[in-house]
C-alpha cells in the first residue's frame, strides 16, 4: 500500500513537470509570440528589443529559460508578468485564490445539500410521479451550459427584473472580500453560487439516487429493515452513509478541478477576479509567466485530488491494480 502511495505521488510530480514543460514549449512554438516585443512597448527600435531580450534572459537557450522561470516562480518568487511588470505572479495567485475558494465552497455547500435532498426525495418517492420529475429537473440542470445560465441570470437580475422587489438587492457584478464586508460578499456571490451549483446538483442527485437504489438490496440494509428500524431511519442512517463514499470521492475530484481555476466560465461571466479569470486573461494576452503559474496551480489541485481519490479507492477496493 505504501509503495502504491509513493508511486502515485511520484507520478504526480512527473505529470506536473511534463505539463509545465509542454506549456513552455507550446508558448515558444507559437509564431508571432515574442515576449521581448511584448515587454518593449509600442515602437521600440530593434536595439531596444535586443536590450530587453538580454535583460530578461530571453536570448538564452530554452532549457535555461525554463529553469530560470521555475527558479523565479518557486525559489525567489519574484516572477513578473510580461504584460505588467509591476504584477508579481505569486502574489497575484495568492490574492485571487480566496475568490475561488469563496465561490467554490459556497457552491459546494449548495450542491451537496441540494443533491442530497433531491436524491433522497427521489428514492423515498420512487414509484410516484415525483421521482421521474426530480430526475428530469436534474437532467435539465446538467444540460445547461454554465456560461449561458450565467448570462441569463445576469439578464434577469441585473437588467430585466433588477428594478423589482425580487432582484433589487442584487449588487453589480464583481467581488467584495469576506474580510472587508461579509454581507456584501454574500450578496455578490449568491447568484454565482446558484449558477455554478445547478449542474452539480443535477449530477450528484442522479449519482446518489442510483447508488441508493443499488444499496437497497444489500444484505445489511435488509437486516436493518428486518430488525424493525423505520424506513426513514434505514435510509438516512445506513443507506445514505454507504452511498456517500462514491459521492465524497466524486466531490473530491470536482472540488479540485474547480478550486484550481476550473470555474473559469462562471468567473468570466460574473466578473469574479479569481484564478479562473486570471487564467483566462493571461491566456488571451498570451502572458507566459502568469499562464505558467495558473497552469501549475490548477494542475496541482487536479492531480493531487485525483491521486488522493485513487489512494482512497485502493484502500477500499484492493482489486484495483495500481497503474
Amino acid at each position: 500500500m505504501l509503495a502504491f502511495v509513493i508511486r502515485r505521488l511520484a507520478g504526480l510530480v512527473v505529470v506536473l513537470f511534463a505539463i509545465t514543460v509542454l506549456t513552455f514549449l507550446i508558448f515558444f512554438a507559437t509564431p508571432g509570440l515574442d515576449p521581448s516585443r511584448q515587454l518593449a512597448g509600442r515602437n521600440p527600435t530593434p536595439e531596444t528589443i535586443a536590450a530587453v531580450k538580454h535583460q530578461f534572459g530571453l536570448d538564452r537557450p530554452l532549457p535555461v529559460r525554463y529553469a530560470l522561470m521555475m527558479k523565479r516562480l518557486f525559489i525567489s518568487r519574484d516572477l513578473v508578468s510580461y504584460g505588467n511588470q509591476a504584477l508579481k505572479v505569486v502574489p497575484a495567485i495568492t490574492s485571487a485564490a480566496p475568490v475561488d475558494f469563496s465561490l467554490v465552497i459556497g457552491a459546494a455547500v449548495l450542491w451537496v445539500v441540494g443533491s442530497i435532498v433531491m436524491g433522497v426525495l427521489a428514492v423515498t418517492f420512487k414509484g410516484s410521479i415525483l421521482d421521474p420529475l426530480l430526475m428530469i429537473v436534474a437532467l435539465i440542470g446538467i444540460s445547461m451550459p454554465v456560461f449561458w445560465l450565467g448570462e441569463v441570470a445576469n439578464l434577469i437580475t441585473q437588467d430585466r427584473l433588477h428594478n423589482t422587489f425580487l432582484f433589487s438587492w442584487v449588487p453589480p457584478l464583481g467581488y467584495t472580500p469576506l474580510t472587508s464586508n461579509p454581507w456584501q460578499w454574500f450578496l455578490h456571490l449568491l447568484i454565482p453560487w446558484i449558477t455554478l451549483s445547478v449542474l452539480y446538483i443535477g449530477f450528484y442527485a442522479r449519482v446518489l439516487r442510483a447508488n441508493l437504489l443499488e444499496v437497497q438490496s444489500e444484505d445489511y440494509v435488509r437486516t436493518a429493515r428486518a430488525k424493525g428500524l423505520s424506513p426513514r431511519r434505514v435510509l438516512l442512517k445506513h443507506m445514505l452513509r454507504t452511498s456517500l463514499i462514491t459521492f465524497v470521492s466524486l466531490f473530491g475530484l470536482d472540488f479540485g478541478v474547480l478550486v484550481g481555476g476550473g470555474a473559469l466560465l462562471t468567473e468570466v461571466v460574473f466578473g469574479l477576479p479569481g484564478v479562473g479569470l486570471l487564467t483566462y486573461r493571461s491566456l488571451v494576452a498570451l502572458d507566459l509567466p502568469v499562464i505558467m503559474a495558473t497552469v501549475i496551480y490548477g494542475a496541482f489541485f487536479i492531480t493531487i485530488m485525483s491521486a488522493l481519490v485513487d489512494i482512497v479507492y485502493a484502500r477500499l477496493d484492493p482489486r484495483i491494480r495500481p497503474a
Binding site: 444540460s143 451550459p145 449561458w148 441569463v152 437588467d159 487564467t279 497552469v295
Partner: protein, 352 residues
C-alpha cells in the same frame, strides 16, 4: 465535471416488466433494441434529437429560400421590409445623445425572424447553421474520442506492465492539461502558418471544424479510457480468454475477436452521454472565442456574439442556448435509455 463510468452487470438481466420468455434465445443487441423502443421517454428524446438535426440541416433552405441572406457576411448597411416599410437592419441609437447602433428586433417573419446580430446578420440563420457545426463537432469528437479511448484502453489493459503505466500517466497528463491554452495556441499556430498546417497529405485549414473537434476528442479520452481499461483487465481473466490463450491465439486475435466485442458496449453506452458533453464543451470554447472561428458559426459563437447585445437584444444569446439545452437534454435522456436497455442493472460508478 466527473463523468459517468459504466460497469456492466454480469450477464443479460431482466428489466422491470420483462418476462424471461421475451429475452430467451435472443442476442443481447436485439434485446437491447427492443427495450429501447419500449422506453417512451428515450424514444421521445430520440425524436427531439432527430428534429434538432433535421432543423439544422434545413439551414441552407431557410437562408437561401426564405430569408435570402448570407449568414456569414456582415450586412451593416442592409435594409429589410417590415410592415411594408423599408427599415435599416442596423439602426442608430436613439435618446438625447444618439450613441451606439442597435440591430433590428425580431420580425417574426420569413427574414430576420429572430432579428439581427451586431453585424446585421440574420440570427435565425446563424442559429441554424450554428447547429450544424455544433452537432457535427459534437458527434465527430465523441466518436473519435471513443475509438481512440477503446484502442488505448485495449492496449493498456491487454499488455499491462510498463505500457499500462505509461499510458495511464499520459492520461493523467491529458486530464490535467490546460484545455484552453491548448485551444488558443493551436488556433494561433494554425492561423499564423501560411496555408494552414500540413501533415503529409492532410492539410488543416484554420477555419476547419476539425480543429475544435480534435481538441475536444483528445481531452475526453481519459474519461472513456479508464472504464475501458478496467473492463479489459477483468475480461482478460475470464475463462474463455484463458482458453483462447492456451490454444495459442495471437495477441491481435485475442484483442479483436475475444476482448473487443466485450468492451465495445461500454463505449456505445457512453456515446450519447459523450456527445452531450462534447457539445457543451464546444459551446464553451466557442463562447470564449477559441473554438469555431469566425465567420463560421456554432451555438457557442452566437451566444458569444449575443453577449454584447444581452440587454438590448437578449434573444441573440438566448436562442442558441435553448437549442443547446434541448439537444443535450435529449442526448442525456437517450443515453440513460441506451444504458438501461443494454443492461438494466448497470451501475453508475465513479471513474477509477
Amino acid at each position: 465535471m466527473a463523468e459517468f463510468a459504466y460497469e456492466p452487470g454480469p450477464e443479460v438481466q431482466l428489466a422491470a416488466g420483462e418476462s424471461a420468455k421475451e429475452i430467451s434465445g435472443r442476442s443481447p443487441w436485439r434485446i437491447a433494441g427492443r427495450r429501447l423502443v419500449r422506453n417512451r421517454l428515450a424514444m421521445a428524446s430520440l425524436v427531439l434529437f432527430v428534429l434538432v438535426v433535421a432543423v439544422s440541416l434545413l439551414a441552407p433552405f431557410y437562408a437561401h429560400h426564405l430569408a435570402h441572406t448570407d449568414p456569414f457576411t456582415s450586412n451593416l448597411s442592409g435594409t429589410t421590409v417590415v410592415n411594408g416599410k423599408r427599415v435599416d437592419v442596423i439602426q442608430q441609437g436613439g435618446g438625447l445623445l444618439g450613441l451606439g447602433e442597435v440591430p433590428i428586433r425580431p420580425t417574426w417573419r420569413s427574414n430576420y425572424f429572430m432579428g439581427a446580430d451586431n453585424q446585421g446578420r440574420d440570427v435565425m440563420a446563424r442559429v441554424l447553421y450554428g447547429g450544424r457545426s455544433s452537432l457535427q463537432i459534437g458527434v465527430a469528437s465523441a466518436v473519435i474520442c471513443c475509438v481512440l479511448a477503446l484502442a488505448l484502453g485495449l492496449i493498456a489493459g491487454f499488455f499491462g506492465g510498463w505500457v499500462d503505466a505509461g499510458l495511464s500517466r499520459l492520461m493523467d497528463l491529458v486530464w490535467a492539461f490546460p484545455v484552453y491554452l491548448l485551444a488558443i495556441s493551436l488556433a494561433t499556430v494554425l492561423l499564423t502558418k501560411p496555408g494552414g498546417l500540413k501533415w503529409g497529405p492532410v492539410t488543416v485549414d484554420p477555419a476547419s471544424l476539425w480543429v475544435p473537434t480534435l481538441i475536444i476528442a483528445v481531452i475526453y479520452i481519459p474519461y472513456v479510457y479508464r472504464p475501458v481499461r478496467g473492463q479489459v483487465l477483468s475480461v482478460r481473466e475470464k475463462e474463455y480468454v484463458e482458453a483462447a490463450v492456451s490454444q495459442g491465439a495471437s495477441n491481435l486475435r485475442l484483442m479483436f475477436s475475444d476482448i473487443l466485442p466485450n468492451v465495445i458496449s461500454t463505449a456505445i453506452v457512453l456515446l450519447p452521454l459523450m456527445i452531450a458533453t462534447t457539445i457543451l464543451t464546444e459551446s464553451a470554447l466557442s463562447f470564449l472565442g477559441i473554438g469555431v472561428q469566425a465567420p463560421n458559426a456554432s451555438w457557442g459563437t452566437v451566444i458569444g456574439d449575443g453577449q454584447a447585445l444581452l440587454y438590448t437584444r437578449p434573444l441573440v444569446a438566448i436562442a442558441p442556448g435553448v437549442m443547446i439545452v434541448l439537444t443535450v437534454l435529449a442526448l442525456n435522456v437517450l443515453g440513460d435509455g441506451v444504458r438501461d436497455a443494454l443492461d438494466p442493472r448497470a451501475k453508475v460508478r465513479v471513474r477509477e
